[in-house]
Amino acid sequence: MQTDALSTTFAALADPTRRAILARLAIGEASVQELAEPFDISLPAVSRHLKVLEHAGLISRGRHAQWRPCRIEAAPLRTAQDWIAERRAEWERNFDQLAAYLAETAPGKTPGDES
């Protein structure tokens, strides 16, 4: 497991302003000015938050010289954690089917007996 990458992701998420920025970006791209509007903080402060989010790979920024729109990136959040969640869910579902099969075929149980 890539603990370092995950730590970076979680550290970036451990700030309410940065989470609010991500929530805003989930709706669509936005410029630094647009992102700063709802917050009572300076543009440089917003820029610092964006740098943290960018470093964590949670957002990317356009390369246009004047207007560098910020965009949310899903990749860091869907790494090993997602893989585990999917494999785990698959196993649990299969084990549920196994438990049902074992119950159906229990000794002394007649086929079709639902009691």
Binding site: A75, L77, R78, Q97, Y101
Partner: protein, 158 residues
């Protein structure tokens, strides 16, 4: 952020079954038993091919097609599982390696260990899976997934 070539992860699941160890083990060790529970969800998934050669060095194979709109992710239809058995101790332990494909994308390679223990009239099963997941997983729609998914994940991870 550059895409990692491979990521490793380990997890385990403990599950208690209300059945004796012989019956639980048989559900893993016989073709009839395994076919009864090891499959995709009936209503969403149609089996394409199944092979089961349960012995050390033997191979197991299962592929299935997800019905339209039913796949866990929207961008694939056929999932394929292929396994090779490395260690078998009857009613005690099974170790096998397996990999997964979604269509032609190689998703993961795993080592799975199953340990069976009798607990009273029940059987305790411990699954430990050590896996490496490959680039195909992220390519499988990572960027295209909706923002709703992302926000749900944010909510549950905080």
């Amino acid at each position: 952020m550059s895409k990692p070539a491979a990521q490793h992860a380990t997890f385990s699941i403990d599950r208690r079954f209300d059945a004796g160890i012989a019956r639980v083990y048989a559900a893993f060790a016989t073709a009839e038993g395994k076919a009864r529970w090891f499959a995709g969800p009936n209503e969403k998934w149609e089996m394409l091919r199944r092979e089961f050669d349960f012995r050390v060095g033997g191979r197991e194979y299962l592929s299935g097609r997800w019905r339209a709109g039913m796949a866990p992710r929207a961008d694939f239809s056929v999932s394929t599982f292929e396994a090779f058995y490395f260690d078998i101790v009857p009613e005690r332990r099974i170790v096998y390696a397996y990999d997964m494909h979604l269509d032609d994308r190689h998703i993961s390679v795993s080592l799975a260990t199953l340990e069976f223990t009798t607990v009273g009239a029940c059987t305790e099963l411990k699954l430990t899976e050590q896996g490496v997941f490959l680039d195909g997983f992220d390519d499988a729609g990572g960027r295209e997934r909706g923002t709703r998914d992302l926000l749900e994940r944010l909510a549950t991870s905080l």
